[in-house]
Symmetry: C2
Subunit: 198 residues, 2 copies
């Protein structure tokens, strides 16, 4: 005997989530069994609504419930600056800083030779179009191999297609709270090379 059929099905569904193995999926499913009927119905509603309502913003690729996203529709934002990120999560992370007031462009992935993701799989062609009317494009992809590859590709592409736009890359260096003797060499090289006058 394994679990009853309906429970096995729910465990299989939880297993499709990223990083969820058999044991974790079991724990999740058994919690659902013990949870209040109402709370589970909330869960069901939330899943349905996400699929019904959410779309990608046709301008920047961010998530939205209604065509253009909140940020693209916000008239108070600086329309001349575009910050390029890998995913919607990064938009939220940047917005939390409250330091940036321009627009975004969500690539929905990074160029990756190991995963076989090519530039044409990403939301890049519309970036080129948007960049033509911008003053600055800030490349804010991760400080990883794929992130750097994508930033390099975009900087070359934009230099060729939109020669009038300034393309910048977010700064690399010591993360806040990191001790120098624990930082890796690449980080220290960046921190030294990009030092600035105080």
């Amino acid at each position: 005997m394994m679990y009853p059929n309906s429970l096995e099905k729910l465990i299989a569904c939880f297993r499709t989530l990223p990083g969820v193995g058999e044991k974790t999926a079991e724990r999740y499913a058994l919690l659902i069994v013990e949870e209040d009927e109402l709370e589970v119905m909330e869960f069901v509603k939330a899943l349905q609504e996400v699929k019904e309502k959410l779309v990608h913003c046709p301008i920047c690729g961010n998530l939205s419930e209604d065509g253009e996203c909140e940020i693209c529709r916000d008239t108070s934002r600086d329309k001349k600056t575009i910050l390029v990120v890998q995913s919607v999560k990064d938009v939220v992370a940047m917005e939390r800083t409250k330091e940036y007031h321009g627009l975004y462009h969500v690539l929905n992935g990074l160029i990756s030779s190991s995963k076989g993701i090519m530039p044409e799989d990403l939301n890049i062609s519309s970036l080129v179009e948007r960049a033509k009317n911008a003053q600055e494009v800030i490349l804010a992809t991760n400080a990883t191999v794929d992130g750097e590859t994508t930033a390099l590709y975009l900087s070359k592409l934009l230099a060729k297609e939109c020669p009038n736009v300034t393309v910048t890359r977010i700064a690399h260096g010591l993360s806040s709270g990191v001790m120098i003797d624990y930082a890796d060499e690449l980080t220290l090289i960046h921190a030294l090379t990009d030092r600035r006058k105080v």
Copy 2:
């Protein structure tokens, strides 16, 4: 800007799962956004079916889709032996061994002073009734403080209420694959005390 409303709601739902923090809930929810509509509908159906169909077996407390559970209904099983476990997960773990052919009794928790769980919160009274007709009750609660407390409580209760039944506790000792120099002291003490002739 945070995420769109419907996405925030789904993140909140995922956060109710055990051990799921903000970041993990975000990852789960964003996967759902990108997932195939059909797969998400499978998920919705699985959640609904679990709530509609699953009940606790009135005899042993195991999960079942239809009154008495598969194990209690199985006429080929040894009805004179009852193995007492904390949760449905433990029933499945024991069944996987294919070594045990008796019945189960699921307590749905353990006595815990730290969590304020008392004997009357658990599925114990029906165990006493069942034990009166059994030959052996095997206490298979975890080898933790709460597990041992519960086993001790049950052994005393059963000795008093059902003096004719044999109450046993599963063996404690070295887990399979564990090296002696890595084993904790309590495990080694158990392994020594309960040694047997070869």
